[in-house]
Structures are given as structure tokens and as C-alpha cells.
Symmetry: C2
């Protein structure tokens, strides 16, 4: 059985990878991935062979990895953040069914909800929902329904893919839906360029968030009813009974 690894490399920097992810990448002959992540990795592991494909060529990328593994090469497919959360693990497992000699192994990593959350403090300290605003593979009505139910359930919400050139108004639409359930004063946070140059955070209200333009390297956090802004940080307590009883 030839193993193909799908590896979550965390937000970017080598020190944000797990030891296991690093070991797997070091043991592989070939590393396959989206151009941006491969460029980051080349700085850390310059002596590997790399194959890059641009965005939206995910099926092709998976087939390259599986075909090379079938030939006996030790192959890793890299994803930013975690391998499973909007990553390539699922597609690799699905396509892997057509390559009976290959076994897909998933190596987890720190997804942006966690790495961005750490920069902001503890925005996801209690129950939360993770929702992508990309409607490339999901009808917008489904996204809208998820945002509304998450807000009605008083869950903190982490938004992935809050914007792109084609989807400039989506964050505003998302904020408006949530605001209908929560009002505009909910504590929110932005984490920019996590683990990369230009890294930063901002704490603001939901109403303010709706007026912002953010780029695709931003992760957005919307607090629950208990979330507090504290000296530039955003903290969602672990429950509803206050610190003294915690």
C-alpha cells in the first residue's frame, strides 16, 4: 500500500506546524500544493521536489498526488491551516477510491479559527460555528441559513473566505443577516495575514464590521451574547455563569 499524506501546515510559519506535519514532509519525495503554500514551504524545505497548481485546480492537484504515489513516490499534499477544514483531505479520500494501491492519511494542522483566535484572545471559548462565505460550491441560500441559525443559537461564529474580488459585498450581507438576530453591538474581531507579514488584529462591533472591506487573507470572528472586548482582545467566556463560579 502506498501512502499519500494530506498535511495541514498551519497558518504559514514553520514554527506553527506540528512536529508530525514536519516529519511527514521531511520524509516525502514530492510535495504537491497550491502555489502560495508551496512557495512558503520551499523556504523551509528547499531540497524537496514540488508540484504546484493554481487555485481551483484541486481535482488536478489531487490526481497528480495520487498518480505519483501509485508509482511508488512518497507524496504529501499540503494545505494551509488544517487538512480537513475546507482543506483537501475529503477530496483526496474521494478521488483516492479510484487508486486502489493508495491509502490517504490525514495529518491535522492549526486552522485559522484557532490561530486567528489566539491572536485575538479567546473568541471561540464556547460553542461556535465555522462558516465559509464562498458560494463557489455552496448555494448562497444555504450559507445565509447557516449564519441565521448560528446567530439564533447564540453561537460564536468564525467566517472563512469573507471576501474576494467577485464577492466584495458578501461580508456586509452576512453581517446584516446576523445583525437581524443579534443587533449591531455584538463584539467582533478580525485577524489579518495570520502567521505572515502584515499580521494584525482588530476588535470592533458587528455594525462596524459590516462596513469593512477585508481581503481573502482575513479571518472574521463574531462573538456570542457573552463575548467581551478587553483591551484590544476578544474573549468569549466558557459559559453563562460568570468567572467567580467557573
Amino acid at each position: 500500500m502506498n501512502q499519500v499524506y494530506v498535511v495541514g501546515m498551519g497558518p504559514g510559519g514553520p514554527e506553527q506546524m506540528t512536529g508530525q506535519a514536519r516529519q511527514v514532509l521531511e520524509a516525502c519525495d514530492l510535495i504537491v500544493g497550491y502555489t502560495v503554500y508551496v512557495e512558503l514551504l520551499k523556504e523551509i524545505l528547499p531540497d524537496k521536489t514540488y508540484r504546484e497548481t493554481p487555485m481551483r485546480r484541486e481535482v488536478e492537484r489531487c490526481r497528480i498526488a495520487l498518480e505519483e504515489a501509485q508509482k511508488g513516490r512518497r507524496v504529501a499534499m499540503v494545505c494551509s491551516g488544517d487538512a480537513g477544514v475546507y482543506g483537501m483531505a475529503g477530496l483526496m479520500l474521494e478521488l483516492g477510491e479510484g487508486y486502489p494501491g493508495c491509502q490517504v492519511e490525514v495529518v491535522p494542522g492549526v486552522t485559522a479559527a484557532l490561530s486567528g483566535g489566539a491572536l485575538l484572545g479567546a473568541p471561540l471559548g464556547h460553542d461556535f460555528a465555522v462558516v465559509s462565505l464562498s458560494d463557489l460550491l455552496t448555494p448562497w441560500e444555504v450559507i445565509e441559513k447557516r449564519l441565521r441559525f448560528a446567530a439564533m443559537a447564540d453561537m460564536a461564529i468564525c467566517l472563512y473566505n469573507p471576501s474576494s474580488k467577485k464577492r466584495a459585498g458578501y461580508l456586509k450581507r452576512a453581517c446584516n443577516i446576523i445583525m437581524e438576530e443579534t443587533g449591531g453591538e455584538r463584539v467582533c474581531g478580525l485577524a489579518y495575514s495570520i502567521g505572515r507579514e502584515g499580521q494584525g488584529v482588530e476588535v470592533l462591533t458587528l455594525k462596524e464590521l459590516g462596513g469593512r472591506q477585508v481581503d481573502m487573507f482575513t479571518t472574521v470572528f463574531v462573538g456570542n451574547s457573552q463575548t467581551r472586548a478587553m483591551g484590544g482582545k476578544m474573549v468569549t467566556p466558557r459559559g453563562y455563569r460568570g468567572v467567580s463560579e467557573a
Copy 2:
């Protein structure tokens, strides 16, 4: 300013920690944590000073860390999984307000939703909710509401703290609520003792899950309407349009 670190150590094994988490722990004089995690760490970093407190003594644990940091010691508070997701980051930030000389820094880690997800394949490949079944700090009605709305939103769901001695019937109650919205055939998964002795996974239906007794070291995954069981794995596709268009 004396920095106190809140460090997510991942599911258990040293190779599942990030490089950053390891560096921070190595640079600290004192490591504070819940007994079980401290015991795991002592095997990896035997030369550190440790302070342990049992479960539910979280406020005391934070105060020990903050007081020692105020005296000038380099202190890390460790959490299993991530530091923010049901971790100590929020409480440390809240209590830290009373220790003006101390600054709390959060170091993220791989939470059980990700590490358990990797073992199962890709159960959280699309939008998802993370909900704890512990009603220690959250009224059961709120937990119930979150489960119901998450199911109505067709989000995959990851359940933390699915059981304990006092809460033996909670997983069954949770499954019944979800089942009212989804029916009993939804693909579900269990990840046992992630990163530790006895690690294992199981894929089963929601109806079967409701009949199971699980322990507190189990993480539970409930798929969305698109989730498939595939050769002992659980895969939630990244969207609603099928692999060929992905």
C-alpha cells in the same frame, strides 16, 4: 511586562504539538496545568517545575500562574487541544485584568475536532458547529437549542464532552434532538483516546450513535446531509455540487 503563556498542547503526543508550543514550554520555568496533561508533559520535558490542580479548580490554577508570573517567573499554563476552544485562554485573560504586571499570550494547538477529524478522514470538510454537552456552565436548554439549529442548518457537528459519570444519558438526548431534524441515517463518527493509548475510530449511523455509551476521552462527529461513509472513513465534501465540478 511579565508574559504568561496559555499553550494548547494538541491531543497528547509530543509530535502533535506545534513547534511554537514546544519552544514556549522549553523556555518557561514553571508549567501549570490539570493533572492529566501535566503528567503527559513530564515525560516530554522532565526537567521543568510543574504545578498541578485537579479538574474544576480552573480559577485557582489561573491565579497560581498569574501570581508566579507577577513574581517574575516565566510561566506557561497548558491545555489539551487548543488553548482557546473550551480551554483556559479566556479565563486567563479575564483574571489577568487583576494582575496589571502580567500580559497573557495565547499559543494555539490542534483541538480534538481537527485531530479526531483527521483520524476519521474529513468529517468537518464543510461548515460545522462545535458544541459541548457539558451543562456545568451552560443551561441544558441552550445546548439543546444549539444542537437543533446546527442540525436545521445542515452543518456537520462536533460534540465535545459527550459524557461523564453524571451525564450518562446526554449523548442519547443530543442524538434524539438532532435526529428529529435529520432522521437516523446521518453518517456519524467516534474518535477515541486521540493521540493516546487505545486510539481508535468508528463510523456509524446517528441512530446507532444514540445507543452508545462513550467516555470523556471520546470526540463525536455528526455529518451533514452530504457526508459519506467510505471504507471506515467519514467524508463531508466541500460543497453541494459533487466531485466532478469541485
